[in-house]
C-alpha cells in the first residue's frame, strides 16, 4: 500500500480498518544471495539500497529482537553534516543529501526537520576553529554561517549571556542541520526494503558465522542455518561479539552514552544547540519534550544505562547554558552502547574473511549516518569495492596510520 494524504483521509472515513501490516513476517529460507546481520537503521538501509541500487533482492536481514530495537531507538535524533576532515566531510554531506530526499524516496514520513544546528563557541581561538570548520563545510557544498554573539542572541535569547567561565562569543549555524523521528527511519527503510522483496526476519539471533577456507559460507541462527556467500555485520553496539564469531578482533571498545527527555512543553527551543565546552546538547522533539545529552560515562560498558555522575554533569551544564529549563521535569533517561573506535570514526570495509563485510564503529554519531552508511555498505557488498565517499573508513587504518581523527585528540580508546 502506498501512503498518501488521500489514504489517511480515506482510512479515517472507514475507521482505519484497512491498514495492512507495513512489512511481511517471512520464515527464513535455507539460502540467500546475501545476509545482513542487524535490523537497525544501518542494516535496514543497507538492505534497501542493495535492492534498489544493485538489484539484489534475494537477501535477508536477520534481527535478534524486533526491527529497530537497538541504537536507532536510543539516539537523540540529530542530523547534520558539519564535519571537517576529508573522508568524513564528503560522507556526511552525501548522507544529508539522502536525508533531504528520504521521505519521498521511502514513501514514509520520517519527520525530517531542518531547523538549524548551532555550535556555540566561547573564545577567540574557538571562533577561529569554527570559522575554519565552516569554510570546510562550505567547500564541501554544505552550508555554514558564522554568528557573532548578537547573532546568537537573536536566535537564542534565552541563553545565559553573562556566564563568565564560558562566555558566549558566537556560534556556527548549520541551517540544513536538524532532527528526524528516529524510529520512523528504521520503519521507513524496513517497509521500503520489504516492498522490494527483502526478507526481514525478526527474533532470529545469529549464533555463529560459518567460514570455510577463509571464505564465509553462511550463518547459524536460532531459527536454523542460512547459507549465504555474502554476509554483512551491521550490529553497532554488539560488533565485537558478532565479529568474534568469525574469529576477528575489532578496534572497538563499547561505552555507554546517556540521554534524557523532559515532560512535553510548549515550543521553546527552535534549533539544535550544541554546547561543546559543557558537553551538552539539546533540541525539542515535535512532541514537546526537551531531548538532551552529554558525553560518554567513560568506562567500557554494555549496560543500557549509565551512572549518576554523568547525569549530574549534564544537568549542571544545561543549567549553566539555559537556566530557564530548570523547572522542566525529566521524564526518562537511558543509555545506548557505542562502538568506540580509537580515532572516533567509523568502519565500512571488507574483513580478512572473504565475503564477510563490516559496518561498525559509529561512536556517538551513527544516526545521521544511516542513509549514507546503508548506501555505502550496499555498494561494498554488491561490488566488493568501497564507495568513494566511504573509502577512508578502513578497518586496517589503525595498523597503517591512516587515521580519521576528527577531534584531533589522538588514536587511543579512552580519548574520544
Amino acid at each position: 500500500m502506498r501512503y498518501s494524504g488521500w489514504k489517511v483521509l480515506a482510512q479515517g472515513l472507514r475507521g482505519n480498518t484497512g491498514w495492512a501490516p507495513a512489512w511481511r513476517d517471512p520464515a527464513p529460507k535455507a539460502a540467500y544471495d546475501a545476509v545482513i546481520i542487524g535490523g537497525g537503521g544501518h542494516g535496514l538501509a543497507t538492505a534497501y539500497y542493495l535492492a534498489k541500487n544493485h538489484g539484489l533482492t534475494n537477501i535477508a536481514v536477520l534481527e535478534k529482537g524486533y526491527l529497530g530495537s537497538g541504537n536507532i531507538g536510543r539516539n537523540t535524533t540529530i542530523v547534520r553534516a558539519n564535519y571537517f576532515l576529508p573522508g568524513n566531510s564528503e560522507f556526511y554531506s552525501h548522507s544529508l543529501k539522502l536525508w533531504e530526499g528520504l521521505e519521498a524516496e521511502l514513501n514514509y514520513n520520517v519527520m525530517h526537520s531542518q531547523r538549524g544546528l548551532i555550535n556555540l563557541f566561547h573564545s577567540d581561538g574557538q571562533r577561529d576553529a569554527f570559522a575554519r570548520r565552516g569554510n570546510a563545510m562550505i567547500n564541501q557544498g554544505d552550508d555554514a554561517v558564522l554568528l557573532d554573539r548578537e547573532g546568537v542572541r537573536e536566535l537564542l535569547p534565552y541563553l545565559d549571556y553573562d556566564n563568565t567561565r564560558f562566555p558566549i562569543y558566537g556560534g556556527l549555524l548549520h541551517p540544513r542541520g536538524g532532527t528526524a523521528r528516529h524510529d520512523a527511519v528504521a520503519w521507513g527503510y524496513a517497509r521500503a526494503a520489504d516492498r522490494r522483496g527483502v526478507d526481514l526476519i525478526q527474533n532470529c539471533e545469529v549464533t555463529g558465522i560459518d567460514v570455510v577456507d577463509g571464505r564465509v559460507t553462511g550463518v547459524q541462527t536460532t531459527r536454523g542455518a542460512i547459507r549465504a556467500r555474502k554476509v554483512g555485520m551491521v550490529v553497532a553496539g554488539r560488533s565485537s561479539q558478532v565479529a568474534a564469531m568469525a574469529g576477528l578482533r575489532l578496534p572497538i571498545e563499547s561505552h555507554v552514552l546517556q540521554a534524557f527527555v523532559t515532560e512535553g512543553l510548549k515550543p521553546v527551543i527552535d534549533h539544535v544547540i550544541s554546547f561543546g565546552m559543557g558537553h551538552f546538547y539539546i533540541s525539542q522533539s515535535d512532541k514537546g519534550g526537551l531531548v538532551f545529552g552529554g558525553d560518554l560515562d567513560f568506562y567500557a560498558s554494555y549496560a543500557a544505562r549509565g551512572n549518576l555522575p554523568m547525569v549530574e554533569h549534564v544537568m549542571e551544564a544545561g543549567m549553566t547554558l539555559m537556566p530557564m529549563i530548570g523547572r522542566a521535569r525529566v521524564l526518562r533517561s537511558w543509555g545506548g552502547i557505542m562502538d568506540m573506535t580509537p580515532d572516533g570514526s567509523p568502519i565500512i570495509d571488507r574483513t580478512p574473511v572473504a565475503g564477510l563485510f563490516v559496518d561498525a564503529g559509529w561512536n556517538y554519531g551513527g544516526f545521521k549516518a544511516v542513509p549514507a552508511s546503508g548506501w555505502c555498505m550496499a555498494h561494498l557488498m554488491a561490488t566488493g569495492e568501497s564507495h568513494p565517499v566511504a573509502a577512508r573508513f578502513r578497518l586496517d587504518r589503525f595498523a597503517t596510520g591512516h587515521l580519521l581523527d576528527e577531534e584531533g585528540t589522538g588514536s587511543q580508546h579512552n580519548l574520544h
Partner: protein, 92 residues
C-alpha cells in the same frame, strides 16, 4: 558506581580516571613487529561480561588499579593495585 581502592577504601567513581583494558599492562618489546603494537593499542576483546581494566585514583592516592568488573551489570568484582596484582601474577 563505587570502587574500593586497596589503599583508600570505597570511593565514588568520580575520583577515578578510566584508562582502558588491562591489556595495556602487556606492552610489547620495543622491537616487536607492527602487528603486535596494533594488537596492543587498538584491537580489543571488548567482552560483554567480566572484564579487567585499568583505573587511576586521580583524586585519591594516585594508585593505578586493575579492576575486575562486569560490563553488563556494572558490578565491581575486585580492585587490585597494579603493582600488587602483577606481583601475584608472577608468583603464580
Amino acid at each position: 558506581m563505587r570502587l574500593t581502592c586497596p589503599l583508600c577504601g570505597p570511593r565514588d567513581r568520580r575520583e577515578f580516571y578510566y584508562y582502558g583494558a588491562a591489556v595495556y599492562l602487556d606492552r610489547p618489546a620495543a622491537d616487536a613487529p607492527p602487528e603486535a603494537w596494533d594488537e596492543y593499542l587498538h584491537l580489543r576483546d571488548n567482552p560483554a561480561g567480566v572484564t579487567q581494566d585499568l583505573w587511576y585514583h586521580e583524586q585519591g592516592c594516585g594508585s593505578w588499579l586493575k579492576v575486575t568488573r562486569n560490563t553488563v551489570t556494572h558490578e565491581i568484582l575486585a580492585v587490585d593495585a597494579v603493582s600488587a596484582a602483577d606481583a601475584a601474577e608472577e608468583a603464580r
